[in-house]
């Protein structure tokens, strides 16, 4: 993957340079074409077009000089310390192992970086939805008629929004998780040890497939389709007769009913898996386990980002014009209908672009795992620095990985945003 990205980078840089030079040549050609066809042409050094081209040539020349100067310094220094400027080290053994990860020290540097990158993705895949959920709840809470809820939401936002995210991370890690939870030998096991909390791992119960699990999974997929069909049917009924559709309730009900019947008929194809900890407090088995640094990083980022999302949610709802609410009221829409059909669709449009930039911030902030030793992209690459792997190439790769993530996220966001904004224009 990394080699592929590097190649893409090289190609796009070449393309950009070619584009710029081609544009310059084309503009110059066009300039002289126009000048040739006109009798009242200005003196060349006072021609608006010529000045533009000259200015660009100067900038280009200055940049080229600067880069060649920096590059010669760079080559001189790398030669001095004997640094190879190639990417062969990616295939060498990395001597890296990551907690809860199949990576072995014998695996290549490239494989290690890939695993680190996957850990970054794990943080953002769990963290962003959680932050969105918490942020929306808090943002909406600030409109609550309940004084206590409103004030607590405000206090939460105003406190956590105004301290650095790094402080939230190290506080949660150093003060709450490491010192607030018992060592794994004395792990805290609430609810009849269905949950295990220690300052090493969190463990939660999970589901485990038994006999007939494959069949059950298939039935669940079918049930999903049936549920969708029922929801569509309810919508048709609503369109035809005007009777309230309750399609979500109907859909969920159908799904639950099929799932329950199939569960009984297949003789319990799924059981719960209870997490367990051996006597010495070392080996976990069963359930879902969560590494401490992972939990600390994800929760801290969620706590911090949610405050920003809450502000966006609050602002975007308030940004919907007051007349819209009045018009909805005058049409006798209920509170739910008012939000569902009038306020939220409009608020979402205002909120979406800043939300995307918060998601990007979340992604970039996940690199602060470096401070608490959760081995994601940045922290893993820092480990590699420590093993005297070549820094320039690694930094290039580091930047490239985050650039890719940012590009993918913002491209995705832009597609949705365009769909949102296009309506009503």
């Amino acid at each position: 993957m990394i080699n592929w990205l590097l190649r893409a980078l090289a190609v796009s840089l070449v393309l950009i340079v070619v584009y710029v030079i081609a544009r310059l040549i084309y503009d110059t050609y066009k300039l002289f074409r126009t000048r040739a066809s006109r009798d009242d042409k200005a003196v060349l050094w006072r021609d608006v077009g010529a000045i533009g081209i000259a200015a660009q040539l100067v900038v280009l020349g200055a940049l080229a000089a600067l880069f060649s100067y920096l590059w010669s310094n760079f080559r001189a220094r790398t030669d001095l310390i004997g640094l190879d400027l190639n990417f062969d080290f990616l295939d060498q053994p990395g001597n890296i192992s990551i907690a809860d990860n199949p990576l072995t020290p014998g695996d290549s540097v490239g494989a290690a970086i890939t695993q680190g990158f996957l850990n970054t993705i794990r943080v953002i895949m769990i963290g962003i939805p959680l932050a969105l959920l918490l942020g929306t709840l808090v943002g909406v809470s600030r409109f609550s008629s309940n004084y206590l809820l409103r004030k607590i939401a405000t206090g939460y936002v105003e406190f956590f929004r105004n301290i650095p995210v790094l402080v939230v991370i190290v506080f949660l890690w150093g003060a709450v998780f490491l010192n607030g939870f018992p060592r794994s030998q004395e792990a805290w096991k609430p609810l009849n040890s269905w949950f295990i909390f220690s300052n090493n791992r969190f463990a939660f119960p999970s589901l485990m497939g038994q006999d007939n699990f494959e069949a059950y999974r298939l039935i669940l997929v079918v049930a999903l389709f049936v549920a969708i069909a029922v929801a569509v049917w309810r919508t048709t009924v609503f369109n035809n007769t005007g009777a309230p559709h309750h399609r979500v309730l109907w859909g969920l009900g159908t799904f639950a009913a099929i799932a329950a019947v199939a569960y009984v008929l297949l003789g319990g194809p799924v059981t719960t898996s209870k997490p367990d900890l051996d006597d010495r407090g070392r080996v976990f088995s069963g359930g879902i386990r969560m590494q401490m640094p992972y939990a600390a990083l994800t929760f801290a980022l969620v706590i911090y980002t949610a405050t920003h999302i809450a502000e966006i949610v609050r602002g975007s709802i308030m940004a919907v014009h007051k007349g819209q609410e009045e018009a909805a009221n005058a049409l006798a829409l209920s509170t739910f209908q008012r939000y569902r059909f009038v306020i939220l669709p409009q608020a979402m449009r205002v909120a979406f672009p800043p939300l995307i930039s918060q998601f990007l911030n979340f992604t970039k902030n996940s690199s602060l795992a470096i401070a608490i030793g959760f081995t994601e992209t940045t922290s893993l690459i820092q480990n590699l620095f420590g093993q005297s792997q070549p820094a320039p190439q690694l930094i290039l790769i580091l930047a490239l990985l985050y650039l890719t993530l940012s590009l993918v996220l913002s491209a995705f966001g832009n597609i949705i945003n365009r769909r949102l904004q296009i309506v009503g224009r």
Binding site: F238, N239, N240, T241, P244, E326, A327, A330, L331, L333
Partner: protein, 260 residues
């Protein structure tokens, strides 16, 4: 039209066909410490057209916004079609269902098409089938003379067209009374006529209407009664002829001399 109506500050005589549609008694309204409306007494009959005029800040918009509970009145009672307006959400929704409103700034929903704007409330509040709601909407759009705009978004239309959509939207709920809150104040001069024409048609079809407006021509031509308000009070009430030719109160005369 009842020509025998005298000119006085009593707005409680019922016009129209004699059945009371709206009954406001001893109503007061405050904004903080500021008293916006003082002791309002007014009755509106079925099929009657009442035009409310007055200088800005006189409380006329507040008065009609109290009738469908966009503002909460502080004292007195408001009865719309036999239902008393209280804090009871059921009563409020019942009254709003029977009361259409047209705003100065249109307040169409910008993210919905014209057709969706019109059918939203009938489908979700009145539970009317989609096809039927859309057919009604198309009829209404014919009536306000913009049937070809059904699938446009409000932002793509002129102000006059938007306001006519807003009228169609409130008509779609088949209301018993429509409140107009300065419907032409935000419009360019050339668009005012198309909206006023639509309103005239409505009046001729026997719709009960309360219009807050600055269009004196409209008041003269269409109104059954003109209510003049100033400083949160009803100052003078009368038929248009009497009102415009022979106003009794100084404040009315001053106002009319300023605008005519």
């Amino acid at each position: 039209m009842s020509d025998n109506m005298t000119i006085n500050a009593d707005a409680t005589q019922v016009g129209g066909n004699g059945n009371v549609m709206i009954d406001v008694t001893n109503m007061d309204k405050f904004f903080g410490d500021f008293q916006a409306l003082t002791n309002i007494n007014m009755k509106v009959g079925e099929q009657e057209v009442v035009v409310v005029i007055g200088p800005s800040g006189s409380g006329k918009s507040t008065l009609i916004r109290c009738i469908n509970r966009l503002e909460r009145h502080d004292r007195g009672s408001i009865i719309v079609d036999g239902v008393e307006l209280s804090d009871d959400i059921k009563a409020i929704q019942n009254i709003r269902r029977e009361t259409g409103m047209v705003f100065q700034s249109f307040n169409l929903f910008p993210h919905l098409t014209v057709l969706e704007n019109i059918t939203l409330a009938p489908r979700n509040v009145r539970n009317i089938p989609k096809a039927e709601a859309e057919a009604t909407a198309m009829e209404l759009l014919e009536r306000v003379k913009i049937p070809d705009q059904a699938h446009k978004f409000p932002g793509q239309m002129s102000g006059g067209q938007q306001q006519r959509v807003a009228i169609a939207r409130s008509l779609a709920m088949k209301p018993k009374v429509i409140l107009f809150d300065e419907p032409t104040s935000a419009l360019d001069p050339e668009m005012i006529k198309e909206v006023l024409d639509t309103m005239k048609d409505l009046a001729n079809e026997g719709m009960t209407m309360i219009c807050v407006t600055h269009e004196m021509g409209f008041a003269r031509e269409v109104a059954d009664r003109v209510v003049f308000m100033a400083d949160g009070e009803i100052v003078e009430v009368g038929t248009p002829e009497h009102f415009f030719t022979n106003p009794q109160e100084d404040r009315t005369r001053l106002f009319l001399s300023q605008i005519l």
